[in-house]
């Protein structure tokens, strides 16, 4: 086994990671990221709702469902309760918070021996908490606490993972899953937003749209960080720059793609499968984000640009499967 530059091979047994296990860790992480993202968006949405006319609110929800890639029947009037049913409690919608937390736990349950017992305990606890909650009218009043608990639970899990699990190959699949999912959901949300709202270059936002832009930043957990960088003056071009290209903010597309590329490079070294498609796709995506000025992206249409990012994400996902999880056996057999 060839030594790698970040890990001494000394005293380490020949690292083995089952493809199925890697697959489960990756999906577990994607599900949990999705749950956290949805929880944040719904929370922001319910707060915006307080400041908006019912008509404007209904329009936004339809948009929100679109941004979350969730289908809603066009006829049915959207109410807070139906939104919650769909996005929080639905067992039919695979992207609802309940489904995602259950999906994350189910994946981790399949590979329990791979994670630390603290990790399992935390995710199991989050699962039991989410499952114990039921949709009812009074629930709206407690929704903020609940949605916050989901986010905190996911953050706690992430912290426990970083603190208790070896940062070896398995951990890298968890990173990979989180940031592939984050890239995709961010691109979807930001793209949908820019498609919907006017954003002439150089312009600050109209007061009517102000809440919407704040909502976007909050939905990415980015409002405070944005203000630190650009002050509280909201300019669409700066919002786009921040959410797409900022190298330091953890919920920017560029940050996420950077992490994806790093994880893939380490995995490629550990498995001695370098120069494969996943690394190439991630590298290309990263280069684009690093060298495209925001003006150019906006001129061509932010949502079109982000659509291509999402397409690359899908290719990347397929390539990861093909190389690490579900490769054809014939090519691997000793001759």
């Amino acid at each position: 086994m060839q030594a790698t530059d970040f890990l001494s091979t000394e005293g380490r047994r020949d690292a083995v990671m089952l493809s199925r296990v890697a697959d489960s860790l990756y999906w577990m992480s994607r599900y949990l990221e999705r749950a956290e993202h949805t929880a944040r968006l719904v929370d922001v949405e319910l707060q915006l709702w307080l400041d908006q006319s019912p008509r404007a609110g209904a329009g936004r929800w339809r948009f929100l469902l679109g941004a979350l890639q969730t289908l809603a029947s066009a006829e049915e009037p959207l109410r807070a309760t139906s939104l919650l049913d769909t996005l929080v409690f639905s067992r039919v919608n695979p992207s609802s918070i309940v489904s995602c937390v259950a999906g994350a736990r189910e994946n981790l349950r399949h590979v329990r021996e791979q994670c630390s017992s603290e990790m399992w305990e935390q995710l199991n606890r989050l699962y039991l908490e989410v499952m114990a909650s039921t949709p009812e009218e009074a629930w709206l009043l407690k929704s903020h606490a609940f949605l916050r608990a989901v986010r905190n639970g996911a953050h706690l899990f992430q912290g426990i993972t970083d603190a208790t699990m070896s940062h070896g190959e398995g951990w890298q699949y968890i990173q990979l899953g989180r940031y592939v999912e984050r890239t995709d959901t961010l691109a979807s949300l930001v793209g949908a937003h820019f498609q919907r709202l006017p954003h002439a270059p150089g312009q600050t936002v109209e007061s009517a749209d102000y809440l919407e832009w704040i909502g976007l930043l909050r939905g990415c957990g980015a409002f405070e960080a944005y203000c630190k960088t650009y002050t509280a003056e909201i300019r669409p071009v700066q919002v786009a720059e921040f959410l797409l290209l900022n190298p330091n903010f953890p919920h920017s597309v560029r940050f996420s793609v950077d992490r994806v590329e790093t994880a893939l490079a380490i995995i490629a070294d550990l498995t001695e499968r370098r120069a494969q498609t996943p690394a190439r796709i991630a590298g290309r995506l990263r280069a684009q984000l690093r060298f495209s000025p925001i003006e150019e992206i906006l001129a061509a249409g932010a949502h079109l640009y982000l659509q291509s990012v999402r397409l690359e994400c899908a290719h990347l996902h397929a390539a990861i499967r093909q190389v690490y999880f579900d490769y054809p056996v014939d090519s691997e057999l000793p001759s």
């Binding site: 083995v16 089952l18 199925r20 399992w120 199991n124 550990l270 498995t271 499968r273 056996v329």
Partner: protein, 513 residues
């Protein structure tokens, strides 16, 4: 037909054990209000703890099990199939002299059963000598013709065994059944211990309890010792699980994690040129030893059940070729068939020239006409078991049965007498248990775990299973049983324990904090 004549263990010992009306042996009390010496300190502690404290402690322990996901799966109902295996906080205590007898008896039994398996799959001496009837073996559902003349490493067929013992009214431990295929429950033994140490640290330390925590390590060295002879490198060992929906899945993950070996499912493995590989992110890796928790039937669809999706096509041929070891071997179920069980004392005598240290429960083979008539007349007093089942499935408990159930079993026995055996209903010993905050007596059994690699070894302890419903005699987890920690005492501590007060005090401090 003369070979199936005598129900071996029935007549020899029935006089001493078959008195079903005798009061069950009480593990804690020698007489009402008088605890046995080794239970004195525990008794004192229980007296001094308020029911409220006990109840709270039990709740905290239950929550630990739930949060850590120490659960098992119940078959037959859909959602919510994960349940915690109820844990009872009051330990069961075994003095060292009783334990050393159990230890010797189980080592003897496992040694003899391994010799028996080697014999029936090779020369068949015991059959030629008519000690065990040939047709009994060949009619056994778990007999595997494919295993004939296949030599296994060290001639060890059963390297992991869990034997169920019960204690009769006279205090004697007897073997109720052997589990020689894929015995489970050892993880609960370890989990119970972990929880008890947390809940009763003072009591635990003062009692001088033998540790059981080294079981996973002992299991790993057992598995390592079974590596194929041709394997020159450090063997790659995996645990093969049927998957997440199996009732013992928690245990599979737990053991794999504790041993630091890969937990694999059938779909992770493949066979090429009679060599087993696992599919990893870095390509295919060779596998040398498989600790399999999958039943024979499902191991290899090319060889056994063709509809199995849990197994690995070609695995059996790789096994035959000696390229991979399995623990336990294929076909060990023939030796824990409940009809063959009746012959185990003879089997021990045949191979080891010794009497069985741990006796059997009297067992009536129903192929014998006299037995059958007698049993059918007294179905309401007998326990009837299907010979190839385990886990408390396929069983009739006479005194607790309805007329309709008895009629059903009568028909089944008449239709297929080879498939059933009968035993007198035995009064399992009883021990104090915590039921809703109150201390009450419940029936228990004992399953120690025996390993056989370079030598036979037992960790001092086991799983004490509890029949939780009042009066129930069924301890299986699938049938509403629970479990409790089992304390085997160190030699020097077994005599009179130290004064109870200091212990009780430190105990109270612990629980309150």
């Amino acid at each position: 037909m003369n070979a199936t004549a005598a129900p071996v263990s029935a007549d020899a010992r029935s006089s001493s054990v078959s008195d079903a009306s005798a009061l069950p042996y009480d593990e804690m009390f020698a007489a009402p209000g008088v605890p046995r010496p080794h239970y004195r300190a525990l008794h004192q502690t229980l007296l001094e703890l308020a029911p409220e404290v006990l109840r709270r402690t039990q709740q905290a322990a239950d929550l630990t099990f739930l949060h850590e996901g120490i659960t098992f799966t119940v078959y037959g109902n859909k959602e919510g199939t994960e349940r915690i295996f109820p844990n009872d906080l009051i330990p069961r205590i075994i003095p060292d002299d009783e334990w050393s007898r159990i230890e010797k008896g189980l080592a003897q039994r496992l040694t003899a059963l391994n010799l028996f398996l080697r014999d029936i799959y090779n020369e068949g001496r015991i059959l030629a000598d008519r000690v065990v009837p040939r047709e009994l073996i060949y009619s056994c559902r778990h007999f595997r013709n494919e295993m004939r003349e296949l030599r296994v490493p060290r001639d060890i067929y059963v390297s992991i065994c869990g034997t169920d013992l019960i204690r009769l009214p006279n205090g004697e431990f007897v073997v109720l059944e052997d589990n020689l295929r894929v015995p489970s429950g050892v993880s609960y033994m370890l989990a119970n211990r972990k929880v008890l140490k947390r809940v009763f640290p003072g009591l635990f330390r003062d009692y001088g309890v033998c540790p059981v925590d080294h079981y996973p390590q002992a299991l790993l060295s057992t598995l390592r010792s079974l590596a194929p002879a041709a394997c020159s490198h450090d063997p790659a060992i995996v645990l093969l699980t049927p998957g997440v929906s199996n009732s013992a899945y928690f245990e599979h993950t737990f053991l794999a994690q504790q041993m630091g070996i890969e937990l694999v499912e059938g779909r992770d493995l493949l066979v090429h040129d009679n060599v087993v590989f696992m599919r990893t992110t870095a390509g295919l890796r060779r596998v040398d030893v498989i600790y399999r928790r999958v039943d024979d039937d499902f191991m290899d669809p090319l060889c056994f059940r063709t509809d199995s999706v849990l197994g690995v096509p070609g695995l059996f041929n790789a096994y035959r070729a000696g390229n991979v070891s399995l623990a336990n071997a294929i076909g060990t179920g023939v030796a824990d068939d409940k009809a063959v069980y009746a012959y185990v004392p003879e089997i021990i005598r045949y191979y080891l020239k010794q009497d069985a240290i741990l006796p059997n429960v009297p067992t009536y083979l129903l192929t014998n006409e006299t037995n059958r008539r007698m049993v059918l007349e007294r179905l309401d007093k007998m326990v009837v078991k299907a010979v190839g089942e385990s886990g408390g499935y396929g069983m009739l408990i006479g005194p607790a049965s309805t007329a309709a159930q008895r009629e059903e079993f009568r028909q089944r026995i008449l239709a297929d007498p080879r498939n059933y055996i009968a035993q007198p209903t035995l009064a399992l010993s009883s021990a104090p248990c915590l039921i809703g905050g109150e201390v009450e007596s419940r029936h228990i059994d004992l399953r120690p775990y025996i390993l056989f690699g370079e030598k036979v070894m037992l960790v001092p302890g086991g799983l004490t299973r509890v029949a939780l419903p009042k009066g129930s005699l069924v301890v299986n987890s699938s049938q509403g049983g629970g479990s409790k920690d089992t304390w085997v005492l160190r030699k020097e501590e077994t005599s009179e324990p130290r004064a109870a007060d200091s212990r009780a005090q430190s105990q109270r401090g612990t629980v309150a904090s």
